[in-house]
């Protein structure tokens, strides 16, 4: 009998746990269709960046105003266009078109700056037909006087406000840099997050040694990175009501199985899809099915969380004990392959 791959994420019924997360592939209708065809159970569209929108709007304004109304022969330097297509319209339209083109759930994502911006855009995307909204909350906090607690409180207030404004479910995608992440996760869930996406990866600075300039860069994720979500999903499974999605570094069907065992409700892919194309989803689905069949798992629901911290039989394995083991292994040379 073919195992049942269905999973529930954010209360949405998914045909499998495999979700295409935000990447250039989900920014284009053709590739969205290809993703669905290859087996994606849902898609997360690229983030609407409030900062980008503001930046674009400001730039259009700056360009049109620079040198204008100053000198009698040249009261402006550009023709007025019909439309500058700034603002969220293009993104909102993409959500609507994606919704129309696909039958799987479409999750829209937002990276906001201002409290008003988050709510306004979330409402717009809901109106455009998004089945769920994912908040992409992360900012590099450089103020030495801003405490962790105050930053977290701000995030929680934000989640709660957006949650209050929406009828569709809300997911929150967070970074791993919290001192007490279990507590943060639990409070996010209480504030209205129906799901947590673990973890966000960010643009990181690099230095160009030739030009001696700082260049932010984003590399595609590598396989080792999946271990961090694996740990935290295992820890949070059963402890927070929110559903859990894993992202970062997932490449093979083995990775998918591991994350499901740890307790993920959804497994999100971006880098691997960019490397191998949408058809990877077909392979992963087949691989997952084969593994489950081989190991006599009837359904994903049965599989999910069967090796969480709570259920694995060795809760300390997800805590410091691994560190201890590793040192032992190192001393005996067993990990030195």
């Amino acid at each position: 009998m073919k195992p049942d791959l269905r999973s529930t994420y954010l209360g949405l019924e998914l045909k499998s746990p495999l979700v295409a997360s935000a990447s250039p592939l989900t920014g284009n209708l053709d590739s969205l269709r290809a993703l669905e065809e290859a087996g994606a159970a849902a898609v997360v569209l690229p983030s609407l960046f409030e900062e980008q929108i503001e930046h674009d709007e400001t730039l259009v304004d700056v360009v049109l105003e620079r040198g204008a109304h100053s000198y009698g022969e040249a009261l402006s330097y550009f023709p007025e266009m019909d439309d500058y297509n700034t603002g969220p319209n293009a993104y909102v339209e993409h959500v609507a078109l994606a919704k129309k083109a696909l039958s799987i759930p479409v999750i829209a994502s937002i990276n906001g700056v201002t409290p008003g911006g988050w709510v306004r855009y979330a409402e717009l995307l809901q109106q455009a037909g998004a089945d769920a909204i994912e908040l992409n909350v992360y900012a590099v906090e450089t103020d030495p006087y801003a405490s962790a607690a105050s930053v977290e409180d701000r995030t929680l207030r934000l989640v709660s406000r957006v949650h209050g404004a929406l009828t569709v479910p809300l997911a929150v995608k967070v970074g791993p840099y919290y001192s007490a992440f279990a507590n943060t996760a639990s409070r996010l869930s209480d504030a209205g997050a129906a799901g947590l996406v673990l973890f966000n990866r960010f643009l990181q600075p690099d230095i160009d040694l030739e030009t001696m300039t700082v260049k932010p860069e984003l590399h595609l994720s590598s396989n080792e990175e999946m271990q961090l979500p694996l740990r935290w999903i295992a820890i949070l499974r059963g402890r927070v009501p929110a559903s859990l999605a894993a992202t970062s570094g997932i490449q093979s069907s083995e990775d998918v199985v591991k994350l499901l065992l740890a307790g993920a409700d959804a497994v999100m892919l971006a880098s691997a899809l960019l490397r191998h194309g949408p058809s990877l989803l077909t392979e992963l689905t087949a691989g997952l099915t084969a593994w489950m069949a081989e190991h006599d798992y009837e359904s994903v629901e049965q599989l999910k969380g069967s090796m969480s911290q709570e259920t694995c039989g060795n809760p300390r394995a997800f805590e410091r004990s691994q560190y201890v083991r590793a040192i032992v292994d190192y001393q005996t040379g067993r990990t030195m392959k």
Binding site: I53, L64, G67, H69, G72, E73, F78, P79, T86
Partner: protein, 1184 residues
């Protein structure tokens, strides 16, 4: 109910012209450009004309071209129009004679502007349209934005019936740029007023292979004359047709016009006759005088050609005894100006007694024409023996023609609110005021007028807005001189401008100040305090800069102050006003995005919190010392320049000005505009002596000097220097110095500086720092810097970056945009050849920042040598420069012959000098000095002749300078000819790829896919390769340079061009404000342009055209990355990606292909051996 809009005269006329036309040929010229721009924008947006078609709009290479295209379109049966001004109209004249001679219905709309004579002027008068009065066009004049619309439709309607083409004109700037409430004609009005059967009749007369006719014949003496007379009946019928069309308009709209509109006492004895916007000031004055019982009137001419004498006589009250005819032009040597002569003839030929008729000139180049002046004309007419010829509005102490004006006379009614705002171009004052009057214009029953006085500087420019609001249509066609409300949007302007001069007693004064109400007083200049007290002003302050910053508006204080204005002026209930301001913000900025709207709204919401009324202290008028006025020198002309700088140019009498437009050089240094907030400060500890900061500085405000240590005697404490590392100049010191009051703070030097501190990479050898922290110290240092002797030119190699920057720039502190991409080329040119160069400068940005009074950046060195500069026209610059060369050659030829005769030894010595080395030129100067000394007391006529010609024996360099609008478009024919002529001229094209000076219209240099005015949908065709075309002659040195990409190549190319004894063409990539990229990064963007293959660097040197040589040399590498890496940084490209992404994609791909293709061709050219059969060298010169 007609829709009420607030628009300017240009838009009012273009609205009709566009809807009444099928073909519109355009070319930019101030102040008519907006009519073409609007037409292009409407056409790109698919707006239809009255008959449902989208007009074809095409930009031509010149106004001559536009007129030709219009002529052709008319002949082929289309309804065609064009827009122009001034020199542009002159270029249309030949076609206008043809169009009229062929009795073709057409309308040309003209924003009337002064013709260039002793000087260019962009401002309004009738000298251009008067030059067109013999073309056979009907001349119809409108006097306000409302009339600009109404007369436009009358012209378009009447021409169809009359078959005589029309020139519809209105005063440049005063009407073309005045915003006023206009009752707009709707589509139904236009359909009703423009007879379609007449359009069809026009089509039937057109050329068509279906019914061919011959037009444009050449006629012999037998019939030409008779045929010319055959058109007379059409001119006879025309006034009646125009009047009927005016009546038809009146029937639909209630606005009644007559060929000659008289207003005033029915039994007037004294009448003024004039046309244009001055008529409204005159009518206002007449109303006031008649109310006082005077028997005066004004007759405004609307249809000037054909001059309907009967209608004129009929319009003039029979009681008229004295007439003053006012012309807004000058016809030197005539018995009187044209309108005067026509009136005189009309009156002389009527039956009855002849009134006394006088003729006066007024308002040349937008000189103010006020009710006080009108009154002075009436007063003068009342004198027993009035002058038969006079001027009004100036003080003529030479010919004594001017009337005395009592400036206290005013006719401004009490129920009109008058407000004057002083601001900077960059703070948005004008934009906000445009919104304010639109708001009031929309308000039920409200009428509003706005006129803006702009700066002729492109950086740090000051704007003055004159706004009137009232319950009736506002005609007052003159600046406000008694304001109820004065706002100064920049605290710093108080020191520079007497802003309260315009304040009426009891007026409200709003000041943007960084001080609270209780402390602002002590910071005010004395004259401001005095006037606040003396005039009993209500005085308010607001820290709008702070409020704007808080709202995220940066330096744009406009919205804050606009809100305060509404709060204080009470023109509308405040709540209503605030709603309306927010509505206007949405309207103006909504398209740009919510963030922009939000910030403006936030500024509105917090504006009034900081508004405070100032209580004037009891001893308020106590004085503080007044800053010393600018002192430019002691002679009359210097005093005149100082007066212009102080904003008192209007008060200068005729005797203060040169008779022929000749001014001294080196005056920009007296301006000390001090417009920068931050200035560059040099850190010698990490300087690597590269001189890049100096070579890229657009304003010559960063200078380098290399000198012996002993020159530092007397240096101010801490004057920074370092050792100059150069084996050719051992033991020398160097310094880099900023001119703190002349720097614009553009930051290009800082962005270019390659020297970083090891410990903090962000710290460079030159860094922007707040000016006020350094001003006093740097002023002292700069003064000392100037006193350090210049290095001897013979000690340096000018053809290098460092060498050139050791030399004194003779082009400094221009009013070009902050960070201008053109001026660094001119500056380096003067460092290389300044002491022996002549410059022919095409009209454009470079002629404005180069020669717009009061000052000029062109200067001379301590020996009094420097560039001799002149601007002829836009279209003729290459020919103008060639003429200079021919003159120099002719003089040199004669001088050589005379030296050979009078001083053979010196002749031999002169021929032995090497004219291409600095030493050689120095030797020539020395020998010429010896020669002059020797012949000083020689009384032979030959000696006198030689003395006047000897200067030509020192080698001169002729530089023909202009922008791409000139070189690629309007002047291309002449440029081509000059290059082909083979003479030793150097052409420098400052290529911004757009008509920069007139606000960014596309030229043939504009690249494919760039958005520009006249190419609102993205430029469809590729950029013309001017350089490659020039190489086809074989004997032209050609270089494609970009300073920001390769400084050494730039300097080398300029030196090579100068050294080549034949024609040279250097095309210099110039970043520009019209590209929409960050000006501070202009040089970096130039480098990207080269690196991404957009602007290949190359040189074609005929000297390398020998056997086995390759004259075409590519100086830049093949691009590795796509063009988009360059285009993404510039709004001219990215605007289209935003507005029409698919079209941008398509054009972007074509543009990439253009670049790849050009590279491919160049790489092949670089391989070609080339040997022109006639490498011209000295022979050409010898012929001269």
């Amino acid at each position: 109910m007609p829709s009420r809009v607030t628009i300017d005269g240009n838009e009012a006329a273009a609205w009709v012209a566009y809807r009444a036309s099928e073909v519109i040929a355009i070319y930019p010229i101030t102040p008519a450009s907006p009519m073409g721009e609007l037409s292009d924008t409407w056409s790109a947006a698919g707006v239809r004309n009255t008959w449902g078609a989208v007009p074809q709009v095409i930009e031509m290479q010149s106004e001559g071209g536009a007129a030709g295209a219009v002529h052709g379109a008319l002949q082929a049966g289309a309804l065609a129009t064009t827009f122009t001004s001034s020199q542009g109209l002159l270029l249309m004249l030949p076609n206008m004679f043809k169009i009229a001679g062929e009795l073709t219905p057409a309308v040309i709309h003209v924003a009337a502007r002064a013709l260039a004579t002793h000087a260019l002027s962009i401002f309004g008068d009738h000298s251009d349209v008067m030059a067109a009065r013999s073309t056979g066009f009907a001349l119809l004049c409108s006097a306000s934005p409302q009339e600009a619309q109404d007369m436009a439709v009358i012209a378009h309607a009447a021409t169809l019936e009359a078959r005589v083409p029309f020139l519809h004109f209105f005063d440049g700037f005063r009407t073309s740029h005045e915003l006023n409430t206009v009752d707009r004609l709707d589509e139904d009005d236009l359909r009703a007023l423009l007879d379609e059967p007449l359009v069809i009749a026009h089509r039937h007369r057109s050329l068509s292979p279906d019914h061919p006719v011959l037009r444009g014949t050449a006629q012999n003496p037998d019939v030409f004359f008779q045929a010319r007379e055959a058109a007379n009946p059409f001119y006879d019928a025309l006034p009646g047709i125009v009047q009927r069309r005016m009546d038809a308009l009146a029937e639909r709209t209630g606005r009644r016009y007559r060929l000659f509109d008289y207003t005033g006492a029915p039994d007037a004895e004294r009448v003024i006759v004039l046309m244009g916007s001055g008529g409204t000031a005159a009518a206002e004055t007449v109303a006031a005088l008649v109310a006082g019982g005077e028997k005066v009137g004004v007759l405004t001419v609307r249809l000037y050609r054909p001059f309907a004498a009967d209608a004129f006589v009929a319009a003039l009250p029979a009681t008229t005894q004295r007439v003053a005819v006012l012309d807004r032009c000058k016809e030197p040597g005539s018995l009187g100006e044209p309108l005067f002569q026509d009136v005189l003839t009309a009156l002389a030929e009527r039956e009855g007694t002849m009134p006394l008729v006088t003729g006066g000139r007024y308002g040349l180049a937008s000189k103010e024409f006020t009710p006080a002046m009108v009154k002075s004309v009436f007063d003068h007419l009342a004198e027993p023996e009035p002058r038969r010829r006079f001027t009004v509005g100036i003080l003529d102490d030479v010919s004594h023609l001017s009337l005395v004006v009592d400036r206290s006379f005013t006719t401004e009614p009490d129920d009109v609110v008058r407000a004057v705002f002083y601001g900077l171009g960059s703070d948005g004052t004008v934009g906000a005021n445009k919104n304010s009057i639109a708001i009031i214009g929309k308000h039920a029953g409200g009428h509003a007028q706005a006129y803006f006085v702009y700066d002729s500087k492109k950086s740090g420019s000051v704007t003055v807005s004159h706004l009137r609001f009232g319950p009736r249509p506002i005609g007052s066609s003159y600046l406000i001189d008694r304001a109820d409300f004065v706002a100064c949007h920049q605290f710093g302007l108080l020191e520079k401008i007497d802003v309260l001069d315009v304040a009426a007693d009891g007026a409200t004064f709003l000041l943007n100040a960084p001080f609270d109400a209780d402390e602002v007083w002590e910071h005010l200049p004395a004259n401001v305090r005095e006037q606040i007290v003396a005039k009993g002003l209500r005085f308010f302050v607001v820290d709008a800069t702070e409020v704007a910053q808080q709202a995220g508006m940066g330096r744009r204080v406009n919205t804050v102050l606009q809100t305060c204005f509404f709060a204080l002026s009470g023109v509308l209930p405040l709540d209503e006003a605030i709603v309306a301001i927010k509505g206007a913000i949405q309207h103006t900025y909504g398209k740009r995005g919510q963030a922009v709207v939000d910030r403006n709204v936030a500024a509105v919401d917090s504006a009034l919190d900081g508004l405070q009324e100032v209580t004037v202290p009891a001893d308020g008028a106590a004085l503080v010392p007044v800053a010393a006025p600018v002192n430019a020198g002691a002679d009359t002309l210097s005093r005149a320049i100082a007066a212009m700088l102080a904003g008192r140019g209007d008060t200068l009498p005729v005797s203060a000005l040169p008779v022929d437009g000749t001014f001294p050089v080196g005056t920009a240094r007296y301006e000390k505009r001090s417009i920068a907030d931050e200035i560059p400060i040099w850190d010698p500890s990490i300087c690597i002596d590269c001189a890049k900061c100096a070579i890229v500085c657009p304003h010559a405000a960063i200078r380098m000097k290399v000198f012996p240590a002993e020159d530092l005697d007397g240096a101010p404490e801490g004057f920074p220097t370092k050792d100059w590392r150069d084996k050719h100049l051992p033991g020398m010191k160097m310094t880099i110095q900023v001119a703190p009051d002349d720097c614009t703070g553009c930051g290009i030097c800082v962005d270019t500086c390659p020297a970083h501190a090891k410990e903090a990479v962000g710290h460079r050898s030159i860094n922007l720092e707040p000016k006020l922290d350094h001003l006093e110290v740097e002023r002292e240092r700069f003064d000392f810097f100037l006193s350090i002797p210049e290095i001897a030119r013979t000690l340096v190699d000018p053809a290098t970056v460092k060498g050139s920057q050791m030399l004194e720039p003779l082009f400094e502190f221009s009013g070009a945009c902050e960070g201008c991409g053109e001026t660094p080329y001119l500056k380096v040119l003067t460092q290389l050849f300044g002491d022996r160069m002549m410059v022919a400068n095409a009209t454009g940005c470079s002629s404005i920042y180069g020669g717009n009074l009061p000052t000029t950046p062109w200067t001379a060195n301590r020996d009094g040598h420097g560039p001799a500069w002149s601007n002829s026209l836009f279209e003729d610059n290459a020919e103008f420069g060639l003429g200079m060369r021919l003159a120099l050659d002719a003089q040199e030829f004669q001088a050589r012959a005379l030296v050979a005769e009078l001083a053979p030894d010196l002749a031999t010595a002169l021929s032995a000098t090497d004219p291409h080395s600095e030493a050689g030129v120095a030797e020539q100067r020395l020998l010429v000095a010896q020669l002059l000394e020797r012949i000083a007391n020689d009384d032979r006529p030959e000696a006198h002749r030689l003395a006047a010609l000897a200067g030509a024996l020192v080698r001169k360099s002729v530089w023909i300078v202009g922008g791409d609008g000139w070189a690629y478009d309007i002047g291309f024919g002449g440029l081509d000819h000059v290059l082909a002529a083979g003479r030793n001229v150097n052409v420098l094209v400052l290529d911004t790829e757009v008509y920069s000076n007139t606000g960014g219209q596309a030229s043939k240099s504009t690249p494919r896919g760039a958005v520009a005015k006249f190419a609102a949908g993205g430029k469809q065709s590729g950029k013309k390769d001017l350089g490659l075309l020039a190489t086809s002659y074989g004997n032209v040195y050609v270089a494609h340079i970009a300073l920001g990409a390769d400084n050494p190549q730039t300097v080398k190319a300029l030196a090579e061009a100068d050294a080549w004894n034949g024609p040279s063409l250097v095309i210099a990539y110039s970043h520009c404000i019209a590209h929409g990229s960050e000006m501070q990064k202009g040089m970096r963007q130039q480098k990207l342009a080269v690196d991404k293959g957009y602007w290949p660097l190359w040189r074609y040197d005929p000297r390398r055209a020998g056997p086995g040589e390759h004259p075409f040399q590519l100086d830049s590498r093949r691009a590795k990355l796509p063009l988009t890496e360059f285009t993404a940084n510039e709004a001219r490209f990215s605007m289209l990606r935003r507005s029409r992404p698919e079209e941008a994609e398509r054009l972007g791909a074509l543009a990439q292909h253009d670049v790849d293709e050009r590279r491919l061709v160049y790489e092949q050219l670089a391989e070609i051996e080339h040997e022109p059969d006639d490498p011209p060298t000295k022979e050409n010169d010898d012929e001269a």
